[in-house]
């Protein structure tokens, strides 16, 4: 069968990332199973929960990244949530007493980063604002809960609440139409 080639010849495709992800996936699966077994066998503090949370985060962010909507804001929001939950887990399971102070600082920092990303390319990022809306709402809920007494009130928590409230006010004034349209699209069930 004689085949006349009418397509351009192709160089070696860059498959490093594909292989890296494949190896990483197997490594993470093994680690996710091994950690609880070792923890139960050795005893002591429940560090396996912390380890498995890190593994889940690595899986979601590195081993199986989003194939749709891999935006900078979305990735920042995801990483922030993984880091904050990780900090809370470490605080609760391994070394208590500092998370209520550190988590809102991380949250504040992440909110500022997402706002900078958003403002730096408003034209494109207007269509990626949903993860930022989630982050702002989460921050507001977290700081509102603080008013009820848990976790304890601290200046970072008040700063986080203030920042999220400010963002909600500014967003509702300047981008209310875009926000409403975004919510309509994201929650559609058509």
């Amino acid at each position: 069968m004689n085949i006349e080639i009418i397509y351009p010849s192709v160089g070696k495709p860059a498959l490093f990332m594909a292989y890296f992800r494949k190896v990483l996936r197997w490594f993470l699966i093994v680690a996710a199973v091994a950690c609880p077994i070792i923890n139960l066998a050795v005893g002591g503090q429940l560090w396996c929960l912390v380890a498995d949370w890190v593994i889940l985060g690595l899986w979601d962010i590195l081993a199986k990244p989003d194939v749709i909507e891999y935006s900078l804001i979305r990735q920042t929001a995801k990483i922030t949530i993984y880091v904050c939950v990780l900090l809370v887990l470490i605080d609760q399971l391994l070394a208590p007493g500092w998370a209520s102070f550190v988590v809102p600082i991380v949250g504040c920092g992440a909110l500022i980063v997402t706002v900078v990303i958003f403002v730096s390319d408003l034209h494109t990022q207007k269509q990626n604002m949903m993860p930022m809306i989630w982050m702002v709402l989460l921050a507001l809920i977290l700081s509102s809960v603080t008013l009820a007494g848990w976790p304890e009130k601290s200046w970072p928590m008040i700063a986080l609440g203030g920042l999220s409230l400010l963002l909600i006010i500014v967003g509702s004034i300047t981008l209310h139409r875009e926000i409403l349209l975004e919510l309509k699209k994201r929650f559609h069930v058509k």
Binding site: P8, A18, I68, Q127, F187
Partner: protein, 500 residues
């Protein structure tokens, strides 16, 4: 001696400013995108001047009114996916994507500067193509994206996944290579019929820019490939062109079409690189039609017969059904002008033991095509899809996704052995025909099926294309032999082996 590389010509902006003083009023994009669009104009003007076109002719061909308001208006449109489209993004995995490719072969080399301008002018006519896939809480959707859409030189593997993840990424890819213009579409945005309308319009606009042809756009909005008209990029898009036509089909009780015994797969190890090779069997339409008539069959039935025979030869299995999925355009049952997905499938099936000779299997295939491709089974299948989607509506996307991933890939593909998608006859306006040699149509690689076939006819050229995902060449070799035995003149073209 090292050959000194030719420096790219710096476009002369002053001419553009003189000829098109109001150009920038049509563009309200970020500065980088604006610069790219203006540079398209500069390059096209330079090219026309080199060809000796008068300023008047340049102004006529590149008239700024042709940009419309597309680049000046904010993106507000969005499109919910229809039941056929919903599974595609839900089940997608890294490196796997449902897509197809359509190409046109001109009689002259493609001029990239003018192809880019053709895209700049015609994209406004296809708002549902100027979109990016986004994730909702319950379903994905298409969000309109106002940007500078680009063409590229063909360098990579044909039908490799389109990168749709980043902000504002395109859901289609336009490439050129020598005299070929190809468009690859993520299936979520359209089906073969809609894709062909897009390609025909692009080519016609390109020929207007390159040859100064103003084809008669008499057919208006008919989306069928056999219609000789092309859509006028100057017409306003209509809501009906992006409508979900599945909602207008009467719902039946019970379910249909999506379950059954797994199909027998071709032998050969799945290649790591997908696709592994693209092959085209080019034949004369008249010869093929005559041969099919000898078997008292249609061209689709005849090619299905060839595929069944080749499949039997190229598998290690000894029993079980060979199931070939044939997409059916349901616009012929429910006339519509939608460019969205509006097709369902007929599963043509023969047990391995039944596949004996062409003479024996042809009546069975013809009969199945008639029965399974009729309106009622199609409506039942649509009905099942609509009801299934309605049932899944309240479940958040992150729960549906892992299930859909399995359905789309391993389980979905297992139910069939191959696919044959026949686009049928494509017609172009009379004025454009002398500049066009042929069309081809390629399906993207599937997850576990080793071959996916598609065909299209233009004038006297029929091109039957095979997308391979295994190194084993026995399937295509047997197809070639069977066509030879039937005394058909076949020219085989294709891609190199995509190995590494």
């Amino acid at each position: 001696m090292v050959k000194k590389q030719k420096k790219p010509q710096v476009p002369d902006r002053s001419v553009r400013k003189e000829l098109f003083p109001d150009l920038e009023h049509h563009i309200h994009l970020p500065s980088r995108e604006t610069r790219q669009l203006l540079a398209d104009y500069d390059r096209a003007i330079n090219l026309y001047q080199d060809r000796g076109l008068s300023d008047e002719e340049i102004c006529k061909r590149l008239a700024t009114e042709r940009l419309g308001g597309f680049y000046a208006h904010a993106p507000v449109r969005w499109y919910a996916l229809d039941p056929a489209e919903k599974l595609y993004p839900l089940g997608m995995r890294q490196g796997e994507m449902p897509l197809f490719r359509m190409s046109v072969y001109l009689r002259a080399e493609v001029i990239p500067e003018l192809l880019q301008m053709a895209l700049d002018f015609m994209i406004k006519r296809f708002p549902s193509f100027a979109t990016t896939v986004k994730s909702g809480i319950f379903w994905h959707y298409l969000d309109s994206t106002k940007k500078h859409y680009t063409i590229e030189e063909e360098k990579g593997i044909a039908c490799s996944p389109i990168h749709v993840a980043s902000s504002g990424s395109q859901v289609f890819r336009i490439q050129y290579h020598q005299n070929r213009i190809s468009v690859e579409f993520f299936h979520v945005v359209t089906d073969g019929t809609g894709g062909m309308v897009f390609l025909k319009t692009l080519v016609s606009e390109y020929l207007r820019l390159a040859e100064g042809i103003e084809p008669e756009r008499k057919a208006g909005r008919c989306p069928m490939p056999a219609d000789p008209g092309v859509w006028d990029p100057e017409d306003a898009p209509d809501e009906r062109e992006t409508a979900n036509e599945f909602l207008h089909v009467e719902l039946f009780k019970g379910s249909s079409g999506f379950t059954g015994k797994p199909g027998v797969q071709l032998g050969g190890k799945l290649s790591k690189m997908k696709p592994y090779r693209i092959l085209h069997f080019e034949m004369s339409a008249a010869e093929l039609k005559e041969k099919a008539h000898q078997y008292q069959a249609s061209i689709t039935a005849y090619m299905l017969g060839i595929m069944f025979m080749a499949h039997k030869f190229a598998t290690e299995a000894t029993d079980g059904p060979v199931i070939i999925q044939v997409p059916v355009n349901i616009r012929k049952f429910h006339p519509s002008v939608t460019l969205r997905n509006d097709s369902m499938y007929a599963m043509i099936s023969l047990e391995l033991g039944e596949i004996t000779t062409m003479e024996e299997i042809m009546p069975k295939i013809q009969q199945q095509l008639k029965e399974k491709g009729a309106k009622e089974p199609m409506d039942k299948m649509v009905s099942t899809a609509v009801k299934m989607v309605a049932g899944l509506k309240p479940i958040p996307r992150f729960i549906k996704r892992p299930v859909a991933e399995k359905l789309y890939g391993f389980l979905g593909d297992r139910l069939i052995s191959d696919t044959l998608s026949n686009m049928g006859v494509v017609r172009m306006p009379e004025e454009d025909v002398p500049f066009i040699e042929k069309f081809d149509f390629i399906l993207g690689p599937s997850v576990i099926n080793r071959a996916a076939c598609a065909m299209v006819t233009f004038e006297d050229h029929v091109i039957f294309s095979v997308t391979k995902t295994t190194v084993d060449p026995s399937f295509e070799e047997r197809i070639s032999k069977l066509l030879d035995q039937d005394e058909l003149t076949v020219r085989i073209t294709g891609s190199p082996l995509y190995e590494y």
